[in-house]
Amino acid sequence: MGYKILVVDDSKLARMAVAKALAALHPDWTRVEAANADEAIAVLKQSKPDVAVLDFNMPGRDGLDLAAELRAMVPNMPVAVISANHQQEVVDRARAIGATFLVKPLTEPALQEFLAGAVAQLKAAGA
């Protein structure tokens, strides 16, 4: 059975790019989307995704703030933050929250590596 992934990005194009990579890697997974942090929290409560992939630079709360919230609500959920802004401080903050940092534009191999780790983590947790 496939997992459910939450994709959060204010750019529709960026969400489409993640969807494309995901369709190639895990066609059996379900995808739910949100365009900002508030929507993401609502989708999280309603759809209970297993994994989350978040954009960093969004209007309102950024992806790292959202990652921290998600980790507080669902401590075992694997979370990745995607950004072209790979300044050390941003990467460090992601790491401190327990999120994986992925460079934008997202490539299939990078997403694959994150998802493989996420699946291992979910299986270990018995999901």
């Binding site: 204010d10 750019s11 529709k12 194009l13 960026a14 489409m16 790019a17 969807a19 494309k20 369709a23 190639a24 630079n57 969004m58 209007p59 950004s83 072209a84 802004n85 790979h86 300044q87 050390q88 401080e89 941003v90 934008k104 534009p105 490539t107 299939e108 191999p109």
Partner: protein
């Protein structure tokens, strides 16, 4: 290819352009961060199609009257100008940040022009080159030029020949908290470029979303 008059960008094309600018500015901020060893904070870019005068008005809204700008012109399938702008009072602080804190004030003042040009060149080139690479086109980028003055005189630059009154205006704030430096990056793209940009954005969207057969990793 359609004429420029019919070239208003649709929602997904504007989204793609914003994302493209976001990629470019993020890369540029990374380069600046490497130069100053301190985090550069960025706002979410705003992308608008507005009149040239309105763009000048927005750029001139800053309460600070004395500004410094590093200005570069880009030409290719798309043509326009890129500006890195900050208050003149913080100019020396930026120079100090990118050089060495141990330099004397005389040295800093002497280096100012050159250091500003070089910083602007790295930031603006980083941004424009990332955009050009993602669009798979080459842009010819002019040497940096330092402009000083109040906002109105600074931005009332002569439009290039054949440029219409409407420009594509992209605007992002950046700040370096530790140095109390704030400024912004602005791109002004001329109307005749819009039809070409629309085609390039469609190709970019196709590559990103998989509608096209080939995709580079």
């Amino acid at each position: 290819m359609t004429e420029a008059t019919a070239s208003d960008l649709d929602e997904l094309e504007l989204d793609a352009l914003t994302e493209l600018v976001n990629l470019g500015v993020s890369r540029a901020a990374f380069s600046l961060r490497e130069m100053i060893q301190q985090q550069v904070h960025l706002s979410v870019p705003s992308v608008e199609l507005i009149g040239r005068m309105k763009a000048i008005e927005i750029l001139g809204k800053s309460e600070i009257s004395k500004l410094v700008a590093v200005h570069q012109v880009f030409e290719g399938d798309i043509t326009g100008r890129a500006l890195l702008i900050f208050p003149e009072t913080r100019s020396l602080e930026l120079v100090r940040a990118v050089t060495s804190s141990e330099l004397s004030l005389e040295d800093i003042i002497e280096l100012e022009q050159e250091a500003l040009a070089e910083t602007g060149n790295i930031v603006l080139n980083g941004c424009l080159a990332t955009m050009a690479n993602n669009l798979q086109r080459t842009l010819k980028i002019s040497l940096p030029e330092i402009l000083r003055g109040d906002s109105h005189s600074l931005f009332n630059l002569e439009p290039p020949p054949h440029a219409g009154d409407v420009v594509l205006f992209v605007y992002i704030n950046f700040s370096i908290h530790e140095r109390d430096i704030q400024g912004y990056i602005a791109l002004l793209m001329d109307m005749p470029s819009l039809a070409a940009l629309k085609v390039l954005l469609r190709e970019f969207i196709q590559r990103a979303t998989g509608a096209a057969p080939a995709q580079d990793a």
